[in-house]
Every structure is written in structure tokens, then in C-alpha cells.
């Protein structure tokens, strides 16, 4: 008989008791978002991998302080963000994001014309440049909300901010982006 998969809460409880396999499952479940969060903050894949790995090791030892029933993802991402910021600070560089060479496939309907695709690509590149030009604190909030698809609550927890601060930074960042896009007429 095949047992049902363990829930996240059950995996956490087992990991708290030192079960490495259970913790491995949690690492597997969250390594994607952890690595991308670290990459957003370090701008370097090797630093991001190191930061994410260190964060998971620290989180393992901190599990005893993790409140049962709380959301694990933002708690983990907070540790990841701290590790990544430390590495960024040491390296003294700023993270910049890049676009894929080929844009994503359209969601449905007829394929766009080459002209439309080119225009979309230019608009995306301009928007990304505008995001990259934001102040770090605004850029991080935009990236968490739209690129990592975190909720405002999760963004606040991950970046160690209050929810109101996330809202105000997001609002300022969107205003700046609108202004810049209008200036460039894209």
C-alpha cells in the first residue's frame, strides 16, 4: 500500500526532529524560489546558489524557533534574503536582471507577426531597463511581487518590512515606472 504524501506541516515537524529526508523534501520544494530570490539580490548565479544553500542550512538549525502553523515560504525567504544581501554587500555590486533571448510563447490564438514580436520585445526590454534603474529598495519590492509572484504579505516578510512599507514602496515604484515609460513613449 502506498501512503499519502506528507503535508508541509508534517515534513516540518519531522525535520524539527532531525529527519534529513523530510528536510530534503522541503529544500526541493522551495529551492527554486529561494535561488531566484537570492539571484534577484546578488545578480550572480554562484553567489545565489551559495546564499540559498547557506540559508537552508541556517533554516534547518532555526526550525526549532519556527512557529507551527505559520507560513514556511516567507520565513525561509527572509533567511535567504539576509544571506543574499550579505553577499551583495561583500561583493559591492548591484544585481541586474536580463531577458531571455526569445520571449515567451503567446498564450493562445494566432502567432504574432514578426513586427509585433519585435515591438513587444523592445517594450519588454525598455520596461526591464526601467525596473533595473529603480532604487534597490523599490526594485526589490517590484521583483518580489511581479517576478517571484509573492503576495504583499510574503514580500513584507521576505524583505523584513512592514506590509504598509511594501505598499508604499510599490506605489512609488509603479509611479516611477509609469513616468519613465511615458517619457520614452513605450
Amino acid at each position: 500500500m502506498v501512503g499519502r504524501p506528507l503535508t508541509e506541516a508534517e515534513l516540518v515537524e519531522r525535520a524539527k526532529r532531525g529527519d534529513q529526508d523530510a528536510y530534503g523534501d522541503l529544500v526541493h520544494a522551495y529551492q527554486g524560489i529561494a535561488f531566484r530570490t537570492a539571484y534577484l539580490l546578488t545578480g550572480n548565479a554562484a553567489d545565489a546558489e551559495d546564499a540559498a544553500q547557506s540559508a537552508f542550512v541556517k533554516a534547518f538549525y532555526a526550525l526549532g524557533r519556527f512557529r507551527s502553523g505559520a507560513e514556511l515560504r516567507p520565513w525561509l525567504l527572509r533567511i535567504v534574503a539576509n544571506e543574499a544581501r550579505n553577499r551583495r554587500r561583500t561583493a559591492g555590486r548591484r544585481a541586474n536582471l536580463a531577458l531571455r533571448a526569445v520571449a515567451a510563447e503567446p498564450s493562445g490564438g494566432a502567432a504574432p507577426s514578426p513586427e509585433t514580436s519585435l515591438l513587444d520585445a523592445e517594450r519588454d526590454a525598455a520596461l526591464l531597463e526601467a525596473v533595473n534603474s529603480l532604487r534597490d529598495e523599490e526594485r526589490e519590492v517590484v521583483a518580489c511581487r511581479y517576478f517571484l509572484e509573492l503576495s504583499e504579505e510574503e514580500t513584507a516578510q521576505a524583505l523584513g518590512l512592514r506590509k504598509g512599507t511594501v505598499k508604499s514602496r510599490l506605489s512609488r515604484a509603479l509611479a516611477r515606472l509609469r513616468e519613465r515609460m511615458e517619457d520614452e513613449d513605450v
Partner: protein, 234 residues
Amino acid sequence: MSELELRLDRLGRELDWPETPDLRDGVRRRVADERRPREWRRPLVIALAALVVVVGALLAVPQSRSAILDFFGVGSVTIRSVDEYPELPLEPGRQFYGQRLSLAEARERAAFPIRVPSVDDLGTPRVYYLEDVQQVSLVYGSPEKPRLLISQIIGTGAIEKLVNSDQTDLELVRDGDAHGVWIEGEHVLHIPQLDEEIRLVGNTLVMERADNVTVRVEADIPKDEALEIFHSMR
């Protein structure tokens, strides 16, 4: 959702993310490595206690102090030994503290809880936020020549203290869960991110709290008074 937000949403799916590495083996290995000493918890505690005594004794010897301090760090502060201090201003430059904010604004922006001392007669501090290193400073007295400066920062490696063993004494200290070092005498505070340095005539208590926040209490006051200020921070 506005059109801009929809575009940002779509942009997120088109970003050139590097492939996510599988972290499980690395995490498991590092956890195993770090757990191994726990099987020897008692001997380790004894060894650590001995180490503290040895380091404390070596710190009292100027020649040894230089060598030890090359490797010494407390939270965000790295303490480096130097033979000579560079010629530096005694007053902080314009970018030294960062942006002046209210305490409430600083609490909004900092990624950690800001604590304020509750010792009587300190007065109300000016509050500054230095975004480059995410440091919050409470400045008592004039910003040019503060009678007390309390800085709070999270993480590692953002601040350096340069000490000259002929002019500075160091002592390991502990307050509950927090640990750190007492620096007595002239020394240099260096913020590599800003490439800004200032020569401090006063003493400094550097403490790392259990929540990874490093607190610096800098003033021309004795150790007990600095510890009292640190202890009162809520």
C-alpha cells in the same frame, strides 16, 4: 491589475533566470558537517571556554593581539589590526550617517527591529538611515561631535574597525545572549561600501545580538556604562 502590472507580470515569466541548482545534497552535507561536533557537545563547550580564556589572555599581549585580531569579527564588524593609523578627519563626513529620518520612518525602512536605550538623561537622539549598508544610527549631541553614537546593522562584513595595539585595548564581553568586544582607546571606523573612514577618540562596545543585529555603542565612556546602555536597549 493595471496594464503596467500586467506587463510586469508577463515580464517576470520572460526573465533569463539561471537554472536552479539542486541544493539538497549540498545542504545535507553541510548540515551533517555542522552537526558532527554536536555529538561532542560537552568537550566542545569545555574547549570553547578554554579558547575564550586563551584569546582573552592573548588579547592582553600586544604582539599576540595583532595576530588574533586579523581574524576577529563581531557580527557586521570586522576588527583589523594596523601598525599605523592613516591621517583621517576626527569629524564624520556628510555621507557618514546617511539620511535623517524620524524613528518611525527608520523603523519602517530597516529590515530589523530598532531598539532605543532606556537609560535616563540620554536625551532624544537624531535618527539616521544609511541605505548602502542598511545601518540605523542614533546620534546624541551634535552630529559633528556626538557625545554618544549607537549604530544598529544586520548581516556581516559591512563595517571595519582598525585598531593599533599600542593605542587600543580590547576585551571580550558578553551580555545575556549577546557577545562582543570592548574597544578602549583611539581607533578607526571604516565603511568600505562608502570608502569613508573616521578616527574615533572614544571607546566602542560592539555587540552581536542573538537576532544577528550588531550594535555599536561609541562614546567616551567606561565599559560598564556602555554595557548598561546596550543592556537597556528595548
